[in-house]
């Protein structure tokens, strides 16, 4: 009696030991079964080599994305906005004492210096404000009065920062208009000096702001292409 029914299981190593030994013994002396076993083995190998189709779309991330991307995007936008504020504040704090120690004469020095810095930062992370507008508008109020006493040009700073906080891309005309009448000739000398001293911390904040802004943008893009 040929063990045809068990040939597949034999091939797959799925027979228990006594049965496996029986089939093996039969195969050794049979003229038909080894050929059939070989055919089954060849069939199995053909099936194994069937091309496996690649999915036309990703089947996993659609599920995972909504759970954490949206809040992370919002957090990144908020963090970016806060970092911009911290950058502006540290810039002012860094430049204000230098201005007063210089005799109070170059009142425009911190203002124009700050406007220089803010011009550079408002161009890059301003897009992050578009992502999370709530982030920039809220913390402005407490931040502005805190900075005022140390600032030598409070009005121009406040307008600049509020203009920036609203996400306006053009705070520079306001800043320039305020800065130039104060005296261009004097601040040309005093301008660069105070910033270079404390340059590490404000720029760190700017880098953080840009990083979070980029992250927020990337996540927003991910959400939109979903």
């Amino acid at each position: 009696m040929h063990p045809f029914v068990d040939l597949s299981a034999y091939l797959d190593g799925a027979l228990d030991e006594p049965r496996r030994a029986e089939v093996a013994a039969h195969l050794a002396g049979c003229s038909v079964c080894p050929g059939r076993l070989a055919q089954l083995r060849a069939t199995a190998s053909l099936i194994r080599r069937l091309p496996s189709p690649a999915p036309s779309r990703s089947l996993v991330p659609r599920l995972a994305a909504p759970f954490w991307i949206a809040p992370l995007r919002t957090l990144s936008a908020v963090a970016s906005g806060l970092a911009v504020l911290a950058f502006a504040a540290t810039t002012l704090i860094a430049s204000a004492p230098a201005a007063t120690s210089a005799g109070g004469a170059p009142a425009a020095a911190p203002a124009s210096a700050a406007s220089n810095l803010e011009r550079t930062d408002s161009s890059s992370p301003s897009s992050s404000f578009g992502v999370g507008p709530a982030a920039s508008g809220q913390p402005l109020a407490p931040a502005a009065p805190a900075a005022q006493p140390s600032s030598s040009a409070p009005t121009s700073d406040a307008t600049k920062r509020s203009a920036q906080g609203q996400g306006a891309a053009t705070p520079t005309p306001v800043a320039k208009g305020e800065a130039t009448p104060e005296g261009r000739a004097r601040d040309a000398v005093a301008q660069s000096e105070p910033i270079r001293r404390e340059v590490a911390s404000p720029w760190l904040w700017l880098a953080v702001a840009i990083l979070f802004g980029a992250l927020a943008l990337a996540l927003q893009r991910r959400l939109r292409t979903r």
Binding site: D6, A42, R62
Partner: protein
């Protein structure tokens, strides 16, 4: 398994979602087998739904195929010739399509995914003897189709 990539993608995605939701209830040794269990069940459900809608004919009668070993009528190409051939794989696909869904699932889980009989029994929720029978009948049916096309396949 489903022979339609759009359906297959739907089934996999659906199964992943279901797996995600029932992740806390996962217990067992093999996560892979668990996922395959969900996906396989979804695929079989899909096939049943298709049949209810009359999209596919009734499955071929499962008789005593295990005693039918068709022999080649004329010398055909050797396995080496056919195996490298795209056409042979096409024949295999066709042959698989004629199997019952249960046989096809068991055979693919074995030959493509490499699961052991015990695992396939757990995945498809049936006895190991049933798995053995499905795999053997399925594989033999594919072999018979190949042989009918003039394949000798003895070079194994």
């Amino acid at each position: 398994m489903l022979r339609q990539s759009a359906d297959a993608e739907d089934v996999v995605q659906d199964a992943f979602l279901s797996a995600w939701r029932s992740l806390p209830s996962f217990e067992g040794s093999s996560f892979r087998a668990w996922i395959f269990r969900i996906v396989t069940n979804r695929a079989l459900d899909k096939l049943r739904a298709r049949r209810r809608h009359g999209e596919v004919p009734l499955e071929p009668p499962v008789g005593d195929e295990d005693v039918i070993w068709a022999e080649p009528v004329a010398p055909g190409p050797e396995l080496a010739d056919l195996a490298g051939d795209r056409e042979a794989l096409g024949v295999v696909e066709e042959a698989l399509a004629t199997l019952s869904a249960d046989q096809r699932a068991a055979l693919l889980l074995r030959d493509v995914e490499g699961f052991a009989y015990e695992e396939i029994a757990a995945i498809t929720a049936c006895e190991i003897g049933t798995v053995k029978s499905r795999i053997h009948r399925g594989r033999l049916a594919v072999r018979n189709v190949l042989v009918a096309r003039g394949w000798k396949g003895s070079a194994g």
